[in-house]
Point group: C2
Chain length 272, copies 2
């Protein structure tokens, strides 16, 4: 019995199965000024792979290259299983609209995660509890309003007084769907791209910005995530360098219980 | 006048131009037990792109997914310019042998790096000078012998007494080509994969291991690298988690002058 309407994230990342050509469409709920929220695009691509009848195993890595703006409306996903091994699969996905040029190019690895020696070297970051922090206010970008951001450190100080020296690009924050939704690989993928541009933090202002390439590694499989059964993550993001119009970002997504669920890196364009 | 033979790295990563199908071949100089050194494969793919007549700009990011072992000998590179923009290009490369299945799948972004605000947030790591450290001894893997590794921290303590607790996966080391060669994007790409498996460090033993997906971001263009004019980098590598047969690695490649040249992440299979 299905009494609840689907979560708007699931609506936004819905795909229609094809043979090798799948369909999706942009969502006004996850819009980012000049195109869809890149995290929603990445999650939609991941959903097509997870729902693919030939898929086996869990997502291990996904790299998404944003080649060109995506217009509002429908898009096609050309989904190709490039190589299947005994316990891993390599996929390639091309997103296009109206039989036009490729707008997004992605590669993914799926794997059956076999039991092994297990060791988490990274330390769980200390953080004030979610309940004790006020949510970040609503923004002009619809996608950001679908998330409940609660900053522990590195609250965006944007549009204040002009800074003399660059500020830290580091942020620590809780991220939840505004309408609670259980964390799965799809939401981890989208949340990987849900950090504000590091350049905004470093410069204390919003500048033209766009993710060029995003890679996320999954350190938990579906069973691990089901055992966590959570609706939010503790997230870290930082940057190392901004130079000649491009800057990097690295991030970590943690379960409240102290488990590192996913790590992510991206390189982004900026104009400043 | 060309009096010197080409550097063996340039021999190992040589490509023969085709239209969309280029050729390369594995090199015994860069062999890693069951296949070519992944860094040499990645550099060969990058070389095909850099030498491609349609290429414009400098490498910004390269992701290489290692799908299947590569046998000794010749291979084909299907090189495709997926999308060209005003100042960036998106490429896809498939490596195969004998018209067989794809063995390596890569995507790359090239960009014309325009002047911008510049800020390096990451701190240059303190390190004992290269000249004051003994080179790491020769190994059974030919590829490792092409490099001059000088460990500042995290010297691999492999095959000693069994450890009670996992050791740190962190390493800081100088990396140079054993036969000196000026650092360019190709060598940065190869050096991105020249760290020993983090799981070897954490467990203090060599275990079955293979890189599954490798992503490198370039934070300098050809002009920046030419200005550095260096033959070695100071490199950092670390891991955050090993779980269910896969572990991560992140790394940084610095110029001796204190400039962050490239950052890299990978996810790897291990058996332990």
């Amino acid at each position: 019995m299905h009494l609840q309407a689907p979560h708007l994230f699931d609506d936004a990342t819905r795909v229609t199965a094809g043979d090798s050509r799948w369909q999706g469409r942009t969502s006004p709920d996850y819009w980012a000024f000049v195109g869809p929220f890149g995290g929603a695009t990445a999650a939609t691509i991941l959903r097509a792979l997870i729902e693919h009848p030939e898929r086996s195993g869990d997502p291990l890595s996904l790299t998404v290259n944003y080649c060109a703006p995506i217009a509002e409306g429908a898009f096609d996903l050309d989904v190709r299983l490039v190589k299947a091994n005994r316990s891993s699969q390599h996929w390639c996905v091309e997103l296009s609209q109206g039989r036009g040029e490729v707008a997004t190019l992605a590669t993914a690895v799926f794997a059956e995660r076999r039991p092994s020696w297990s060791h988490q070297e990274a330390q769980f970051p200390q953080a004030k509890p979610f309940e004790q922090i006020l949510p970040y206010p609503k923004t002009a970008a619809s996608w950001a309003n679908q998330y409940d951001f609660r900053f522990v450190e590195g609250y965006p100080d944007i549009g204040g007084a002009k800074q003399d020296a660059p500020a830290s690009a580091f942020s620590k924050l809780w991220i939840a769907d505004r309408v609670p939704r259980t964390i799965d690989a799809l939401s981890l993928m989208a949340m990987s791209d849900a950090f504000f541009g590091r350049v905004f933090h470093a410069r204390g202002e919003v500048v033209p910005f766009g993710t060029v390439s995003l890679t996320t590694y999954f350190h938990t499989d579906a069973d691990d995530l089901a055992a966590e059964d959570i609706t939010r993550v503790l997230a870290l993001a930082d940057a190392k360098v901004f130079h000649k119009s491009y800057g990097d970002q690295s991030g970590e997504l943690w379960s409240p219980s102290g488990r590192l669920l996913a790590t992510t890196t991206q390189i982004s364009y900026f104009k400043a």
